[in-house]
Structures are given as C-alpha cells and as structure tokens.
C-alpha cells in the first residue's frame, strides 16, 4: 500500500487523496534504470557497460541519471579494478528498492477506478 505521509499526499479528489509520484523515479530513463537494477538478484551488482546495454542509453546519459539516483540514495556506485582495468559496479539500495515499490503502488492507486477503494472497504462480494 502507498504510504501517504504529509509530503506524499497530493490533492484530494471526491473520495480519496491522490499520492505524489517520486520525482526521482518518475522520469522515463531513471525508471528504466531502476527497474533494470531491481531485476537483479538480491545483493547483486552490475557493471556500467552491461547496464548500459540493458537500458539502451548512451554512457553520458546513463551517467547523468545514475548520479541523480545516487544523490537520492537509491543506488550505490562502486569503482574498482579488475585485471588492472577500472570497473564501475551499480547496485540498487534498500531505499531504492522500497522507493520503486512505493512508486509502482502509487501508480496503481492513481490508475485505480475511483470507486475501487470504497468497494473494498465495504467488503462487497467479489472484492
């Protein structure tokens, strides 16, 4: 369920409060990157070139969006050496994972028919 804190709550419509969408993730390139990283196994990390191949972005563009995700604490970038060649590994953090889960839950809530929640609360048959 979407957590609707003070900052997350948006405008009130007839019967519900619409959630804010996380501006860090609510951008096509960053959403693609976040989803790709979330598809990796728990605790796994990926090299910059492989991530670039998965999301189909130029290295400059990808680096820009990774910086924004890193600033938000959603990913960590580890720079290391492998056989004397510099390698950058990208990994989704717990915060990033939770942010993506909250974001997709918020999307579903935004797109749910307005009467959907009320029906659930009343416990009508088929809910």
């Amino acid at each position: 369920m979407v957590r609707l804190g003070r900052q997350a709550a948006g405008p009130v419509t007839q019967d519900r409060v619409l959630p804010e969408l996380d501006p860090v993730i609510h951008s096509q390139p960053r959403l693609r990157v976040t989803v790709a990283l979330a598809a990796l196994g728990d605790g796994d990390r990926i090299t910059f070139p492989r991530l670039q191949e998965l999301v189909g972005m130029t290295s400059g563009n990808l680096a820009t969006h990774l910086r924004k995700l890193e600033d938000a604490g959603y990913i960590t970038i580890t720079k290391t050496y492998r056989r004397r060649t510099p390698v950058s590994y990208v990994e989704l953090t717990r915060t990033g994972q939770r942010a993506l889960e909250d974001y997709t839950a918020a999307l579903r809530l935004l797109l749910a028919p307005p009467g959907g929640q009320a029906h659930e609360k009343q416990g009508e048959p088929g809910s």
């Binding site: 948006g10 960053r30 989803v35 191949e53 998965l54 590994y89 797109l111």
Partner: protein, 220 residues
C-alpha cells in the same frame, strides 16, 4: 487527466525530463521488467531442447550401432554421441556466461557453482565407471553401468536445480531422469540406449515444450 483539463497530481511534470503519464509509467515498468528478465535469464527451452536432441540422436545412434544387426557403424555412433553432447554443453555454458556477463553477487555465485557441479559430478562418475571397466567389468554390465550412472547423476543435478531455483518442472525432470536411469538398467543392452534416447531425450523435449508454452502464456 481529469475532466477539468487539469492534470491530477503526479500525472505530468512540465519541463521535466522523460516526462510520462502514470499509464505510460506503469506500462514501462511491466515492459522493462519483462525485457530485462528475458535478457538476464538463460533460454531454458533452448537449453533443454538441445539436450533433448542430443540424447535422442546420440543414444539413438548408440542403440542402432549395437550388436550383429547394427545399422550404424560403431565409430559413427561414438562420434555422434560425443559431438551432440559437447554441442549441448557448449550451448548451456555459453548461454550462462553471456546472460550473466557483467553481473556479480550472490545469485551469480550460486549459478556458477551449480554450472560447475555438472562437469565435476560427471567427471567423478566417469572416473568410477572407467575404473570398474578397467578392473574387468563384463562388457554387458559396463554398458548398463554407463547409461544408468549418467542418467541418475543428471537426475540428481536436476533435483538440485529444482531446489536451488524453486522450480518444480526442473525437480520433476530430475525425478524423471532417475526413473529413466533405473529403467535403462532394467531394459538391458541395447534397450538401455533406446530408453535413454526416447525417455531421456523425450523428457528433455517435453520439459522444453512446457517452458515454451508457459513463457507464452499471458501473465495473470
């Protein structure tokens, strides 16, 4: 969009980069998840299909080359069995290496250990069977030993794969391969090769077909 013409909260962000609507965003999440999973996971139906063909052709040739009424020369059966099995092994290792390239962490480590378990286990079985053959095991029993131990080892490795990846089809294939291995010994030569070709190769192909069907099913 609302009826007033004003975008609901979060719908659009004027001036934002890669601006998308919630509908587009949700569709993008689903599409990206599906695409990335397809590029990270091995093509299991292709791998099982290759092993199915390898067993069908390789052990089928071995069956046809056995005895006085053989229709396939012994040398050709040996070459075929070796080539198709090496080909299927190369395809399996190639897929795993390509899909896992550039990724490291716990899941890659588990996958790597599982992949290496295959040649290690089969090398152990090969050593034991070779030693028994050298120690004077009759030719008839030698043939049964090879087919039985190879199929049962494959069965145990598929059981392990089923547990590791929480995949019941993999686990079921493991059980089927254990039955196949045991049945091949009971069949006796040259029926043991026919059992491996038809039941073993057929089992792989059925499993490959199931994965192909399941993969094309619309997600619920």
């Amino acid at each position: 969009m609302t009826g007033t013409g004003q975008p609901p909260n979060g719908m659009t962000r004027p001036g934002g980069e890669g601006e998308i609507s919630p509908q587009e965003a949700l569709a993008l999440v689903e599409k990206q998840r599906h695409e990335v999973a397809g590029r990270l996971m091995v093509d299991i139906e292709l791998i099982l299909g290759a092993w199915g063909v390898a067993w069908l052709v390789g052990f089928g040739a071995a069956y046809l080359s056995y005895g006085r009424h053989a229709t396939v020369p012994g040398w050709l059966a040996t070459v075929l069995l070796t080539v198709v099995n090496l080909g299927a092994a190369a395809l399996t290792f190639g897929q795993s290496a390509r899909r896992g390239a550039g990724i490291e962490g716990p899941s890659r480590e588990v996958m790597s250990m599982y992949m290496w378990a295959w040649p290690l286990a089969l090398a152990g079985v090969f050593a034991v069977d070779s030693a028994l053959a050298r120690d004077g095991l009759p030719v008839r029993l030698d043939s049964l030993l090879w087919s039985g131990t190879a199929a049962c080892t494959v069965g145990v490795l598929y059981l392990a794969g089923g547990m590791l990846f929480r995949d019941r089809v993999h686990y079921g294939l493991g059980i089927w391969m254990l039955i196949t291995g045991a049945a091949s010994v009971f069949a006796g030569p040259p029926g043991n090769f026919a059992v491996l070709a038809l039941a073993g190769g057929g089992g792989f192909l059925v499993a490959a077909g199931w994965y192909a069907w399941a993969g094309r099913r619309p997600a619920r």
